[in-house]
Symmetry: C2
Subunit: 118 residues, 2 copies
DNA sequence: CTGTATCCCGGAGGATACTG
DNA sequence: CAGTATCCTCCGGGATACAG
């Protein structure tokens, strides 16, 4: 695991700390999904078109390391696991709401400037 | 400029949209700094130990493209520019506050689990 | 079903030198 | 002072195949 910050910053660092946790490409979606209910591995994958097993596993492991997500083995015979949020993970709800709200309010203004026609 | 999203997602996508804008390594700090006042290029660099000119320029250009930051040439004789936030950029203040607050409230809990002694 | 093991690639970030 | 121009490194993300 890598160090969180390689230098001390008393300015935007707080913001960066939080950002690093949710920086992974699929972590935002994973967390958003898990706010509602716990998910099986393949349920998650189906909700996230484009992600591969390896990457999804990786994102989940990292969220687990951060203490935001819990992996629970339900059964071994038919191998089944269940991913859910920890209490700490749940505290991110207002944060994610904040991000979502901004996108709803101002996202289109950004798009207007990015205008990509590929 | 790259496409914002390569697929349509109606779940965590909103969150992702906002995250992509501030994903750059130094963007959080830049924005945080610019909330207070406008900065000269080298003022910014001095506030951000570790960043190189090239990278800082890149981050600023991207924020500019997104419509969050304005670059204003103050004078040519002694070459001077000034970076400040647009109205759109300023709307990110509550979002950044949200991220910062979470770090203050729960950041240490994450650290506790990451425990890296390198 | 839920992974791990390889191999691979592009791009973000960085070091350094040069410029108007 | 505020940048470009090169070149380079590293790592997140992905494709694919295999495994318990």
């Amino acid at each position: 695991m890598k160090k969180h910050k390689d230098y001390d910053c008393n300015l935007g660092c707080m913001v960066e700390n939080t950002l690093e946790i949710i920086r992974g490409k699929w972590k935002g979606i994973v967390l958003t999904l898990l706010f509602d209910k716990c998910y099986r591995f393949n349920e998650l994958q189906r909700q996230m078109p484009g992600v591969t097993q390896r990457i999804l596993t990786k994102q989940l492991r990292e969220l687990e390391q951060a203490g935001l997500v819990v992996r629970e083995v339900l059964s071994l015979k038919p191998f089944a696991v269940c991913y859910s949020l920890t209490d700490l993970g749940r505290t991110l709800k207002p944060v994610m709401h904040c991000l979502k709200q901004w996108s709803l309010d101002h996202g289109h203004e950004v798009y207007a400037l990015e205008t990509v026609q590929d």
